[in-house]
């Protein structure tokens, strides 16, 4: 049966927000998010002819995201980047979202910063499955396709990621309590 391939534009529209969020959550520095996301879609454009429709487009695109983010990390390591991978800078456009009241904005921004901090503590494999399962709502079989691992391995990584994330959050909250006396 002939493969019905989506157009590049369809893939872009369907997956841009997912790619953008995932790139940020996988530890790409704010200043590099544009470039990394661009690289993902340039690769999508180049390889769209290879997409055979055996998995969801989002799953296929994620496999590209993973490789591009890995390249980004390797490049940063080579350059000996000293600064933390993510920063706590909040996009002014998000804060300026008039649909949200200031308290809600502050709360979301704070939660977002904590989320990034906790994700940084997970290794790449755990962070990926955690983001896809807990934040993107993907099923474990779909994640297994996306990360190129078997289902049992993904379950195992997810279990470990959840545990580590929970412990890190508890520790962070305890530190906060101690600071506030």
């Amino acid at each position: 049966m002939a493969v019905v391939r989506p157009t590049f534009d369809q893939v872009y529209q369907e997956t841009f927000a997912f790619v953008w969020r995932t790139v940020r959550r996988l530890g790409v520095n704010d200043s590099a998010v544009d470039d990394v996301t661009q690289e993902v879609f340039v690769t999508v454009h180049r390889r769209l002819g290879e997409f055979e429709g055996r998995c969801a487009v989002k799953t296929w695109v994620f496999s590209i995201v993973m490789r591009v983010v890995q390249n980004y990390r390797r490049s940063r390591r080579r350059k000996g980047a000293a600064q933390p991978i993510t920063s706590a800078v909040v996009d002014p456009e998000i804060l300026a979202d008039t649909r949200m009241d200031p308290q809600e904005q502050a709360s979301r921004a704070q939660a977002g910063r904590i989320l990034h901090k906790l994700l940084e503590e997970l290794d790449e494999e755990k962070a990926s499955v955690f983001v896809l399962a807990e934040l993107e709502g993907m099923t474990v079989p779909a994640i297994a396709d996306a990360v190129g691992a078997n289902v049992n391995t993904v379950y195992s990584r997810l279990r470990a990621a959840r545990k580590q994330f929970e412990l890190a959050l508890e520790r962070l909250q305890a530190e906060e309590v101690n600071r506030n006396g």
């Binding site: 534009d9 369809q10 953008w20 998000i94 939660a111 989320l115 379950y155 545990k163 959050l169």
Partner: protein, 252 residues
């Protein structure tokens, strides 16, 4: 499997939309992708040529003008994107497809701003120029690009015009790239070269707008503000206006 605690769930729920992109993010990245995947410069030139040229089919003008000035891309990315990207992005999103040679049956008429880049396209609205998949397309003289044999050759003057526009876009992209890395001097150098080569070029107005930004961000606020005011007096509704006002500390 071990489930998450209510505490963690609450955090994830609160943070879930924190990383969502804005429309401007979507448009800006798309413009960057289009520039990198190539074809934009050559076809962009063709689009501008067609829009400006009296030899372009009369029916083409409204559609191309819309693609160049009226797409949602323009609306969404103005505050953040440089002129090179604005031009390339707008062209890529609309005029790009409108001007590609026809190799498929014509598609139904679709709003220019929503046409998928890779989709089969409607009838050619101007002399077609072959697209390039090479991101170095900007370095190619459009006059040297092969033409679709099935179409009549455009007039030589049209091709020369296209070459000029290609050169104009290249210089403005150079200036914009310099600005984006904070090198105002390099930006001004590219703009001066543009002014010398194309004093009354199609993009001369944009050149002066970018010059105002370069002067202001380079520390020459007085000259920059003068240039900005001159530009804004003539083109207050330009896509560059908000960026110029921001760079030169001018009120809206």
């Amino acid at each position: 499997m071990d489930d998450l605690s209510p505490n963690t769930r609450a955090l994830l729920d609160a943070a879930r939309s924190f990383d969502d992109p804005t429309d401007a993010d979507r448009d800006r990245v798309r413009a960057g992708v289009m520039m990198r995947i190539g074809g934009v410069a050559a076809v962009g030139t063709a689009a501008i040529t067609a829009a400006k040229s009296s030899s372009a089919a009369a029916s083409a003008a409204p559609m191309i003008a819309n693609a160049l000035g009226g797409t949602s891309l323009f609306g969404g990315m103005l505050a953040k994107v440089g002129i090179g990207m604005v031009l390339a992005g707008a062209v890529a999103s609309g005029a790009y497809v409108a001007l590609r040679p026809v190799h498929h049956a014509p598609a139904a008429v679709v709003a220019v701003a929503t046409l998928p880049v890779a989709a089969p396209v409607a009838q050619p609205l101007a002399a077609p120029v072959a697209t390039s998949a090479d991101s170095e397309a900007a370095a190619v003289d459009p006059a040297d690009l092969p033409l679709d044999d099935a179409r009549p050759s455009p007039a030589r003057s049209g091709r020369a015009h296209a070459a000029d526009l290609e050169g104009e876009m290249k210089l403005l992209r150079t200036a914009d790239a310099a600005l984006r890395r904070g090198d105002s001097a390099a930006a001004l150098s590219a703009l001066n070269k543009h002014a010398a080569l194309y004093p009354t070029g199609v993009l001369s107005q944009e050149r002066e707008g970018v010059r105002a930004i370069a002067l202001c961000t380079g520390g020459n606020l007085s000259q920059g503000q003068s240039a900005a005011q001159r530009f804004l007096a003539q083109a207050a509704k330009s896509p560059l206006a908000s960026r110029i006002r921001a760079a030169c500390s001018l009120a809206d």
